[in-house]
Amino acid sequence: YVPVKKPKHTTTTTEVPKPWLRTISSTIKEIVTPTVIAGVTFSAKPLETPDPLQPWISLKKDGTPQTIKPEIKKGRTVKASPDYSTYFKTAYTTTYSYEDLQAHNMDADEHLEEEVFVDEDSTYISLNPVIRCTPDTYFKKGIARDISSEPFCTPRENSVLKVDHTYFVTWYTRFFRDEVTEETIDQVRLHLFAVKEKAHDKGFKR
């Protein structure tokens, strides 16, 4: 005799995140409507007092979200939200002359070329709590695992996507660039194509 285990009573909220107002570009006001997709709230209103241990959303190999809560252990932050290095920054080369710098170890006709990284416009990026795809998180695909998955990070190859589940497809936003202007492409589209399988590709008998 096995007693029936009843699921624990969980408190769920039916409260819909309310729209909020923000000011972008110092003058333009915008109403932001939060949306909840697969349990992840996008465009949520930032906290009044920023929390350094604010949970963030990571993605499993198949693209399902999982919440990561940063912790402080021995004075160091563990599982902190990811650092994207310079992947989303724009590099500019600035040339300084001797007149600009007046450095004591610089000749009068010498020029200094310095690479400066400028952060991207975070107007819309900041509303996304999910980990972003960078070339660091590419994986290897193919039978020999020798082909880069660029521009995708999730889902991994041969992931099983189950019906009625939501999976986040992520790609590196700066992968597609205009050949002439070198600017990032504005819009992309995803497609799913049917693959013709051979008998031995169809897997095990069930």
Partner: protein
């Protein structure tokens, strides 16, 4: 070409770098699972020049396992005493039929015990069990064997200590 795609999203903002893909059962086309190529098309590449194999990922769309558990609604109904017991009748039907057949067989055998003649079957079975080989002296192999007649064992007079 793009006509072969069974799903195409609308044009998305590339800066988001993210798309929530909700898997639909219609994509399976009646199958349990299906391999699919997930491809991304930038706006700069026209539809007729787009090659999905260039930046594509192989994924598997599956119906998934269906685990039948008591839902909260079912548990609430059970708490109120409303239960669906159809499975109970199905589970009990077969053992009941077998039991009924055994009882019927017992009574049939009991009632027909006096009129039943299974001697031929019994005789055949016993005949199979005790096969008569014949006498030993008639056997070719043992023809030369002298079968001594029974003699009494020798007896000796007991001494005083033995008695």
């Amino acid at each position: 070409n793009l006509n072969a795609a069974f799903f195409s999203s609308e044009w998305l903002k590339n800066v988001d770098g993210l798309y929530p893909l909700e898997v639909s059962e219609d994509w399976l086309d009646g199958k349990y699972e299906r391999k699919a190529l997930l491809a991304i098309q930038p706006r700069s590449i026209p539809d007729d020049e787009f090659n999905p194999l260039e930046y594509g990922l192989l994924v598997e769309v599956s119906l998934g396992s269906r685990v039948f558990k008591n839902t909260k609604e079912q548990l609430a109904l059970q708490d109120e005493g409303i239960t669906d017991e159809s499975w109970y009748y199905v589970a009990m039907t077969m053992p009941t039929i077998v039991l009924f057949a055994c009882v019927a067989m017992y009574f049939f055998l009991y009632l027909s015990k006096d009129t039943r003649d299974v001697s031929d079957v019994k005789r055949y079975a016993l005949g199979q069990k005790r096969r008569v080989l014949g006498k030993l002296k008639d056997m070719k192999k043992f023809k030369g064997m002298k079968n001594h007649a029974y003699n009494e064992l020798p007896t000796y007079r007991k001494n005083s200590k033995q008695s």
